[in-house]
Amino acid sequence: MQNPFRSEAEAFRFLIRTIVYFAVIAVAALISTWLGVAVFVVATSGIVWWLFFRVA
């Protein structure tokens, strides 16, 4: 796992990813609370898998 703040360019990319992550969860949660929870679980699991298993 790499530090997302190791450079300004990386931090900028991390910001964009954060916006997308929270936007998807917020939109899903506004449609239905449980859909928001489901999207949160799926998105977070995907990120954890990508960070710790794919990138390693």
Partner: protein
């Protein structure tokens, strides 16, 4: 004699660098790590009040200015683009682009703070009005303080930019405030989504 004079070192000893990471960048990493812990403590209080306590959010009769805060979010995100532009410009030795990017970032940051101050004056509740008010002002105020610190860093970077201090090879003075500014933006996205939207 001349060779001996050339080998002579004046001033404090050169610091030992045992890390692959530049010491200035490492300092900013450690600072950001401590900030994440600080925000984590505030978010823990927020989730405790909201979830474990089971209170309505926001409490009945109170309304959060979601639209104004949304516009403020757009302003802050735009400022991240401008600081990124400033750094990319100086990496290409474009001083005017860097100066314009930094000035725009400063202006957008000040607009964000002014809008937040205006929001506070019209929101209709105070920090002493229960746990909701305390958490709202605590989290948004903590973030506002970080924006203020970021603006101070960017002010110094801007002054130095206009004095011709940066170049394509030496731009740490812009990069490090840029990293901090993006961190502040990331935290705002979390604060805005959890407090205002969800």
């Amino acid at each position: 004699m001349a060779a001996h004079a050339g080998a002579e070192h004046h001033g404090p000893p050169i610091a030992n660098q045992s890390s692959r990471v530049d010491s200035r960048v490492l300092g900013m990493f450690l600072f950001i790590a401590s900030e994440i812990m600080l925000f984590g403590a505030f978010f823990t209080a927020y989730f405790f009040v909201r979830v474990a306590n089971g209170i309505e959010w926001p409490p009945e009769g109170l309304h959060l200015p979601v639209f104004v805060a949304g516009v403020n979010t757009c302003i802050l995100v735009t400022s991240s683009f401008t600081v990124h532009w400033a750094l990319q410009s100086i990496k290409r030795d474009n001083r005017v682009g860097m100066q314009a990017g930094l000035v725009l970032t400063l202006a957008l940051g000040f607009v964000f703070l002014l809008t937040q101050a205006r929001e506070y004056s019209r929101v209709g509740f105070a920090p002493s009005d229960g746990a909701f008010g305390t958490i709202f002002y605590g989290l948004t105020g903590l973030h506002g303080a970080h924006v203020f610190v970021g603006l101070m860093l960017l002010t110094f970077a801007t002054i130095r930019a206009f004095r011709g201090h940066y170049s394509a090879a030496h731009h740490h003075g812009v990069e490090i405030p840029g990293i901090y500014w993006h961190f502040v933006d990331v935290m705002w996205i979390v604060v805005y989504t959890t407090i205002y939207i969800l």
